[in-house]
């Protein structure tokens, strides 16, 4: 896809620093975000810039195709590529929605206690969705079960009831940038905690909790 224009991606707080990405790099970063979201046990940061840029790019490709000659072989190949990119994008968004539905009280709690400068893990639409989902679930539980219970048992604490994401689950990862001094916690009582270095290009199987900040910064890629 060398024909599309180069895309500019603005920094999230609107400062004048621009990051110019070719379409190929944009698609690769979408695929990386997609794989990370699929294999991480918790909801990762929302990459709304990538989503918006990809949607712009898809619109541009569609309009190009409309103008093209009918019956040209390239048209069907480009259309196939559009379908593939659209699939990756919708799978990414669907994966995030599944995680929001699964862990909604904890995500809303985290969002509430977020410090101002930190990036949000929810896009504005996802935040509205999560709030509506929580309100609907509470209304449903109240109407179906709680209002028939004795008055002192009518409260339900969703934060305790809904299971938390399991940050101890193991994930496979590939290292993109070399990392030093990662502290690994002991598995059994006989082991002690030890420190490892992650070489670039190596692949590991490790608990998610240990490398969570590295996934957020893009230093490792979940596979």
């Amino acid at each position: 896809m060398a024909e599309g224009p180069e895309l500019r991606e603005r920094d999230s707080d609107g400062s004048s620093e621009e990051l110019v990405l070719t379409p190929a790099q944009l698609i690769r970063s979408l695929e990386q975000a997609w794989l990370n979201e699929k294999f991480a046990p918790e909801l990762l940061e929302s990459k709304s810039e990538i989503v918006e840029c990809v949607m712009e790019q898809l619109d541009h490709m569609e309009s190009n195709l409309k103008r093209a000659k009918h019956g040209d072989l390239k048209v069907s190949i480009h259309r196939m590529e559009i379908e593939r990119i659209r699939y990756v994008l919708s799978s990414y968004l669907r994966c995030r929605l599944v995680k929001i539905e699964k862990f909604f009280p904890h995500i809303l709690e985290k969002e509430k206690s977020r410090v101002e400068g930190e990036p949000s893990i929810l896009s504005p639409e996802e935040f509205a969705f999560a709030k509506e989902y929580m309100a609907n679930t509470e209304t449903y539980l109240k109407n179906v079960a709680l209002k028939h219970m004795p008055p002192n048992l009518q409260k339900v604490d969703l934060l305790r009831l809904v299971p938390k994401p399991n940050l101890d689950s193991f994930v496979f990862l590939r290292v993109q940038e070399r990392q030093e001094n990662i502290l690994v916690e002991p598995e059994t009582d006989e082991q002690r905690e030890y420190v490892i270095d992650l070489e670039e290009g190596s692949q590991h199987l490790i608990r998610y909790k240990t490398i969570a900040p590295l996934v957020a910064s893009g230093a490792v890629q979940l596979i």
């Binding site: 379908e83 799978s91 009831l161």
Partner: protein, 246 residues
Amino acid sequence: MRVVRSPGPAAASAWPRLSGSRGVGARRRPPAMSEAYFPVGPGLGPEENFLSLEDILMSQEKLPGRVEAALPRLAAVLGKGAGAGQSDGIPEGSKVEIPLWLAKGLYDNKRRILSVELPKIYKEGWRTVFSADANVVDLHKMGPFYYGFGSQLQNFDNPENPEIAQTILQTFIGRFRRIMDSSQNAYNEDTSALVARLDELERALFRAGQKGLNDFQCWEKGQASQITASSLVQNYRKRKFTDMDG
């Protein structure tokens, strides 16, 4: 080299003709990528999930114990009602068999009300059987929630807790290989003989393996890009049909 399929416009028209001839069998398949509804799974380790149906069923299993303090007027509730009247109490020191959820609620660190004993499959004798060969044991008969119940037993103070935890872990490690093998290689056949001796956690694993195998075979045959009715909608339609009939 295999070409990766994708729903191109030319290809989409060919598939319905091929699969239409398959008949009734084509309808049942769930979508490979995502389900409409995700039930809450069982909890990990000594925690239970409040909203999980498997955990609710598991915590209904009975646990033998001894009552430490006298419980007036509760004989009927705790199952000693046969022969006793409505308002009889349970004297101190008598043995009861109560469900796990009740035991967890009544158990206190100072052990004022209840003291629990281990069911026999977590005791020393059976632990040596498991360590000898875990594959031959019929875990479904031994209480269908061996792993879950054993993890919950860690909540009660018991000097044998570390050994119980080790035994459960080693049993799982010993049996897992066979479950993985059988679930990945039994395609389109009757699996009741394979599943009969597994407990509920292992059955869930087996079903996950079978689902993966079936989805892969569907994808290979090209049936993955067909749109099928969601399982929720199918059930809804079935119920409506019987409403009209009855």
